[in-house]
C-alpha cells in the first residue's frame, strides 16, 4: 500500500512531466538563453518540490509554477544587474538566431523569408519591452493564458496586466509598421 509520501512524490512527478516543457518555453522566450532557461527550469521545479506540501490548489498548478518561474527570472535579472561587471559574456542568442526557428508551414521561400522577418521584428520589439511588459506579453501571446491567469501568476491586478499588454502590443505594432 502506497504511503502518503509516495503518493505526493508520484503526483509531483506527473506535474513535472506535464508542465516542464511549458515552463522551459516561457523561460527560454524570456531569456533567449537555452542553458539559463534549463537552469531556471530546474530551480523552479526544485523550489516547487520543496513547497509542494504547502500548495493548497488555490490557483492551478500551472499558474503556481509560472509564478515561481517569473520570480526566479526576476531574481536572475536583478542579480545580473548587480553583478554585471562580473559577467560580461552574454549567452543569449541574438535576434537573428532566435528568428531562425519557423514552423515548416510556409508555402513558398518568399513567404518564409517574410515570416522570418516578421518574427525578427516581434523579437526586436519584445527585447525593448520592460520586464513586466515582456512577461505579460509572452504569457498572453506565447502561453495563451487568460488575463486572470496572468494576473495571478504575476501578482498584478487585471487592469495593470491589460495596461502592460496594451503597451507591449503597441510597441510590436510600431515595430511591424516600420517596414510596411
Amino acid at each position: 500500500m502506497a504511503t502518503a509520501d509516495e503518493n505526493a512524490a508520484q503526483e509531483f512527478s506527473s506535474l513535472v512531466a506535464s508542465h516542464r516543457p511549458q515552463i522551459f518555453r516561457f523561460l527560454l522566450a524570456s531569456t533567449r538563453d537555452v542553458d539559463l532557461a534549463e537552469t531556471l527550469t530546474q530551480e523552479c521545479f526544485l523550489k516547487a518540490h520543496r513547497n509542494w506540501s504547502s500548495f493548497r490548489g488555490e490557483s492551478s498548478a500551472m499558474t503556481w509554477l509560472m509564478r515561481i518561474a517569473i520570480n526566479l527570472q526576476k531574481d536572475h535579472w536583478r542579480n545580473r544587474r548587480i553583478q554585471f561587471w562580473r559577467r560580461t559574456r552574454n549567452n543569449s542568442v541574438d535576434l537573428d538566431e532566435a528568428s531562425e526557428w519557423l514552423p515548416s508551414g510556409e508555402s513558398s521561400a518568399e513567404q518564409g523569408v517574410l515570416a522570418k522577418e516578421r518574427v525578427g521584428q516581434v523579437w526586436k520589439a519584445v527585447e525593448g519591452l520592460s520586464e513586466r511588459q515582456r512577461t505579460v506579453f509572452l504569457l498572453r501571446y506565447v502561453e495563451e493564458q487568460e488575463l486572470s491567469e496572468i494576473a495571478q501568476a504575476t501578482g498584478l491586478r487585471e487592469g495593470t496586466v491589460k495596461a502592460h499588454l496594451s503597451r507591449a502590443v503597441a510597441r510590436v505594432r510600431t515595430e511591424l509598421g516600420g517596414t510596411r
Partner: protein
Amino acid sequence: MRFKDKFGGKQARLEGQTEDETLDPMLEQALVEFRSSVLAWSDAAYQRSRTVLAASPRRQVWRLAAGWALGCALLAGGVSGGLNVRHHRQEMARIAAAHEAEQRRLVAEQRAREEEDLLAKVDSDVSREVPSAMEPLAQLMAEDETR
C-alpha cells in the same frame, strides 16, 4: 484568419480577448508566427537538453568513478599526511628530549668542573698560606720536586 481561430483548442481561452487587444491582420499574423517560432525553438532546445540528460548516465558513471577516486586519493593523502604529522611530532619531541638531556648533562659537567676548580683553588690558597717559619722547608720540597 483571426488569432483566436488559429489555435482550435485555445478558442475558449481567447474569448476573453479584450477590445483593447483587437489585432489587425498583420499584427495577428506576426504574433502567430512568433508563437510558432518560439514553440519550434523551445521544442528543439527541450529535446536537445533531454538528449543530453539521457546520454548523461554514462558520464555520471565516469563522474562517480572519478569522484570516488578523488575521494579515496584525498582520504589516503589525509591519512598519510596525518600519520606523517604524528611521526614528525614524535620525532621532534624525541629530539627535544635528547637536547634537553644533553643540556642538563653539560650543565652538570660544568658545575662539577667549577666545583673542582674551586676546591683546587682553595687547596692552593691554603697551601700558600702556610706559616712563614715553614717557608724554607716548602721551598726545598719544591726544588726537590723539580729535580
